[in-house]
């Protein structure tokens, strides 16, 4: 099976460990992710001002690309891309007047987009569709006492209309990881924001958030945190180094994409993990648990 695929910018740079593990993983299920031709930036942050439609053009152009590709199921890995594209679909469907203005603006581009023609699907949703049984079948390694804290962040859960699972108490990542034989921990901070783009010029907020989130995961016995957003990844991973510099008692924890764990369990060669992209080295714990 072939599915259209929108990688977004970060997966080609900081997030190579995410794409690098996700795509071979899908191949195990005979799913080939076909990258859109000449894709644009998704716009990253969905514009929330009612009178500035310019900022909707970026995600809509991407959706138009998907429509034109003929393969209209569009896979995303990055949580921010997922959010922006999905919200753009809701936006175009819910306000006809604004849709018309956008169509007028894009008249030279030919293809019109109405919202229903493309389905944006996140990798987690796709894996849930594939089902626990199929996942189980492909697992090659067994791990014991390896406790994972799945972290969702914001963009997969909010606002409600784009949520891939319950906004308050999601379980989808737990279900997939448990199907692969992992143990997940109680993790009350799994839906809390890492402070997102504030890392650029307000990193103190990210520091405070990461401290809370990591402490909660550690307290609940987690060996690693897994997630699905390249920005959360950077924030939770890199800033732990900064926190550790200030607070010697702070206990760090490796952060991984959930696909890295699955790829290791399913015996995909470990090079795709690009462990050099990690700030907190996850290899010791992975070795200890027999995954490397």
């Amino acid at each position: 099976m072939e599915i259209s695929y929108f990688p977004g910018c970060t997966l080609k740079t900081n997030g190579r460990n995410f794409e690098g593990t996700a795509l071979p993983l899908l191949e195990l299920f005979d799913i080939h992710a076909k990258e859109l031709d000449d894709w644009y930036c998704c716009g990253v942050s969905f514009s929330q001002s009612a009178d500035n439609l310019m900022q909707q053009i970026a995600p809509i152009r991407t959706l138009v690309k998907a429509k034109e590709s003929g393969n209209t199921r569009l896979l995303t890995l990055c949580a921010m891309c997922y959010n922006t594209l999905q919200r753009a679909i809701f936006f175009i469907k819910s306000d006809e007047d604004k849709r018309d203005i956008i169509h007028d603006f894009m008249y030279r581009e030919g293809t019109k987009f109405y919202g229903d023609e493309v389905e944006v699907v996140h990798l987690l949703t796709l894996l849930k569709e594939i089902g626990s049984e199929e996942i189980k079948k492909r697992v090659k390694k067994k791990v014991d006492e390896f406790k994972i804290a799945p972290y969702y962040g914001c963009m997969l859960l909010r606002p409600k209309e784009v949520a891939i699972d319950s906004s308050n108490a999601p379980e989808i990542m737990e279900e997939i990881l448990e199907a692969a034989g992992c143990e997940t921990t109680y993790f009350p901070f799994k839906t809390e924001c890492c402070a997102s783009y504030q890392i650029v010029n307000n990193s103190e907020i990210v520091k405070a958030r990461t401290k809370k989130i990591v402490n909660s995961a550690v307290k609940n016995g987690a060996d690693v945190i897994v997630l699905s957003c390249p920005l959360c990844f950077y924030n939770l991973d890199e800033i732990q180094i900064e926190i550790k510099k200030e607070d010697k008692n702070f206990k760090t924890i490796p952060v991984l994409y959930f696909t890295q764990i699955l790829a290791l369990l399913m015996g995909i060669k470990s090079e795709v993990n690009n462990f050099s992209l990690h700030y907190i080295d996850p290899t010791p714990v992975l070795k200890r648990k027999g995954l490397l």
């Binding site: 319950s166 308050n168 108490a169 109680y186 009350p188 909660s216 307290k219």
Partner: protein, 650 residues
Amino acid sequence: MKKIGVFVCHCGINISSTVDIEAVKEALKNYPGVTHIEDYKYMCSDPGQNLLKERIKEKGLDGVVVAACSPTLHENTFRTAVMLVGMNLYNCEIANIREQCSWVHKDKKVATKKAKLIIKSVVEKALLNEELEPVKVPVTRRAMVVGAGIAGIQAALNIANSGYEVVLVDKNPSIGGRMAQLSETFPTLDCSQCILTPKMVEVSQNKNIKLMTYSEVVDVSGFVGNFKVKIKKKVKYVDWDKCNGCGICIEKCPVTVSSEFNQGVGKRKVIYTPFPQAVPNKPVLDAENCTYFIKGKCQICKKLCPPDAVDYTQVDEFVEEEVGAIVVATGYDTYDISNMEEFGAGKIPDVIDGLTFERLLSSSGPTNGEVRRPSDGKIPKEVVFISCVGSRDPEHHFSYCSKICCMYSAKHAMLYKHRVPDGQPFIFYMDVRTGGKGYEEFYQRAQEEDKVIYLRGKVSKLYREDGKIVVCGIDTLSGKYVELNADMVVLATAIRPSAGVNEFARLLKIHYDENGFLTEAHPKLRPVESLSAGIYLAGCAQAPKDIPDTIAQASGAAAMVANLFASDHLLHEPLIAGVNEDLCSGCGFCVTVCPYDARKLNKEEGIVEVNEVLCEGCGSCSASCPSGAAQQKNFTDTQLVNMVKAILKD
């Protein structure tokens, strides 16, 4: 041609400010059939009614049209007035020029034109109205009360003490309902069971009350004064005629399961009475959990029962009762905490709902009134109470206020403090609503004397950490984000109509609102009646309410029943649809559209017959009749055509 008098009301300035009364009079005075026209500031006033009566006599009128407010308000007033001077009341018609005209228009010209047309069309109707007499219906002077909580008990006792027989039905093994589960009641802190049990005993002793517990209504047919109700008496596996209530079976039963009465925090036996003061105090056997029914072995209860009352061969029994009125008092459930994901969705053991906390406070409860948390039996030292859980949240749950939570949370905090003097109660609230006698004083006492700390704001989430429950919230008064490490959290979950009540409402053909609460006939003026005649409402089935309000409504419902039973017959509106036998082809369309089962096809004669008592005059049959055989009295096709013509003529 009839002589019609038209009386135009100003309704102060409600009508006259947008309708030009003089112009209306001018337009109508020469209208065919109109022999007199007059206006008055308030037609509904005594002088207004007198004017109507005088002119009927003086001018020899044989029909009147009062152009005024909606007929739902004063039709009765004017009809009674005309009857007093000997006119048949169906010759008095109302033209609604207020709600349907003056109130909805701003432009005086438009409104005046519309008023003229409305009056003209009603004059056309009045010209062809027949004189009718009400249909007499016999009344079975016997009532049924469904639900035997405090509302049902009160209604049943009031009806029974008025001298009428009452069948009191409840789905549980005992009467008492939710009130029997409560610890102490606000604002007096009376022990709930202590004030309830005398009433329960009174029910069991009252000769006029036929008690049917562990029973459910499965079918209702008939109409006001003449209902037939089918009841399922659920199988008890105990012959209550033989049982002497000695309790040996309960004592010796080897299997315990979680007790519904104790909200799951206590245990009961498989053969059980829900609580010690149960009425009737006789056990039922829960076959689902019984070793004998599961494995075919045990039979301890049967072997030990002195009067040999245990009978494993019993089956459900169905009985039918004939009653003239029904009081629906089916009560409430609390919104399940599994719906509250941000509060742990019921997975955090020491996060409980208010009703469960009542059981922990109750001296007859599983902890004998000591506040011990369910997870480990420890006495909690810091307890957080959260109001408006599911209530006042139109975005995620319910928009309405559950009304009793402010008071019971204050009571919970207070009682907790009395039981655990070194403990600290906290209440998160958004508004404190203490409308009720002595309620505000009670709230003040909770703050002043028991040092209950009120935090104004919502709790955003709860989570477990180090054996505590971390409560994350806001106090908007100080503007601070607050975190509390609680030992126990009590959620004041929304009051919901009890499970299954909406199916029951459909059985009774009564309405319920978008939240599932039963709809009263008028939100202000008819709060204890349903929209179906002869069916009355009491207690939380209609809307969340506290005990005093429940008692008041239940007594009100009982008074309505007694009012209905004051005569051995009822007068039914004669505005019904008959059948012109010469025209009826027996096609049966009308039978299928009739919502009241009032029409039946007589296959031998090939015509449709009407039960005049069941017909509510809705007109569905006349609208669907292809031959014009179904004609509604005083709403005939000719009248309707004339009315439409009158409107279209100008």
